[in-house]
Symmetry: C2
């Protein structure tokens, strides 16, 4: 599949592009800054220009699936959270619908289902992610929403813990590498379409953890 | 009708409470800060405690209609825009649905239909307002969405210009007093249910301007 990664130069995006190539997909890295093109090529991706606040739709030409992992994570201003994590996500969803791209994997956020939960400092971020998720759920796309807990830069283990129902128990941190590998696994497992999956560090092989009912 | 005003101590709210009383309604001013209770009473309203980030639903006991005019207008941090203008609005809509309050009037923002339009500085604010509006449109409520252009503190004139279709022509500024009077007129005109109305300063008597088809 041609898989477009929005946010290809971010923490998860950098882990995802080579893993998509390893899995036999053609990764396309969509970035706004052309100085990042070489970095995407070095990781095995085809770079394309796309601006979530400007011209974006042409970047999806020929694409089969989109992964959205752009955004601030709370490190930039909240205005960017509104413009990228929320409105940019909505624009990318609209572009998929208009461009006949059916498959969409959203990297959402832990507790987006409960934006006002602790810690309070993350509440505005979770509002944006929740509203983007809600928009995706109502769109006519084959969507999977992943809500990883706190991210680390540890090595990938190939193992995670996945929860299909909300509970407030939480769980261990998860590496960006394992989140990226989970995206690859979701793209290869049709049963994850329509699912919202909370992700933690854990001991279950990823392919097994994200398969509903297992 | 018992009409609850969320944001009763804000610029439009202060104009709205006495106008609701003058029109024969029972205005209820919902605020989070009990030190504002006396100010609401002085304008003819019944003050009630409600916190859009905390306990809110009990404030709607016995209420027939809600007017949402809380929010920053871009003067506070964007985190507040996410928490109040967007998530607070969604929570108030949910509370209406759960509490059998059928009528809802949203004070939205000019160009919420086109968040990325100029001026760019307002784009994050319009994203939040647009997403709240979309949520309201899909809720099982009798809703009217008002999208006034730039607000002034001029005296009310009783006259406005209303547009039911989007166009980018813009129009004259409008006073908060005339927006408040437009809310009263909408509550008295069932034909405004389901409408999204852009508001400018103008020469048409309010009741006529906001009646669809006129």
């Amino acid at each position: 599949m041609q898989v477009a990664v929005i946010g290809a130069n971010g923490g998860i995006g950098r882990e995802l592009v080579p893993r998509l190539a390893d899995a036999g997909h053609d990764p396309i890295g969509i970035v706004r800054d052309e100085s990042q093109f070489d970095a995407i090529r070095e990781r095995g991706g085809e770079p394309r220009y796309g601006d979530l606040k400007g011209e974006f739709a042409p970047a999806l030409e020929g694409v089969d699936a989109v992964v959205f992992t752009a955004g601030s994570g709370g490190d930039t201003g909240w205005d960017k959270t509104l413009l990228i994590d929320l409105w940019g996500a909505r624009r990318s969803i609209d572009a998929c619908v208009d461009g006949d791209v059916d498959r969409y994997v959203m990297i959402s956020a832990y507790n987006a289902s409960e934006p006002l939960a602790e810690p309070e400092a993350l509440a505005p971020y979770r509002v944006a992610k929740r509203c983007a998720d809600d928009y995706l759920e109502q769109a006519p796309l084959d969507a999977t929403i992943l809500r990883p807990t706190t991210l680390t830069d540890e090595e990938g283990t190939g193992r995670v813990s996945a929860a299909f129902e909300y509970h407030d128990d939480g769980g261990p941190d998860i590496s960006r590498a394992d989140v990226a590998q989970t995206v690859v696994a979701c793209l290869d497992d049709e049963a994850t379409v329509g699912e919202t999956i909370r992700l933690f560090g854990g001991d279950t092989p990823i392919e097994q953890a994200i398969h509903p009912g297992d």
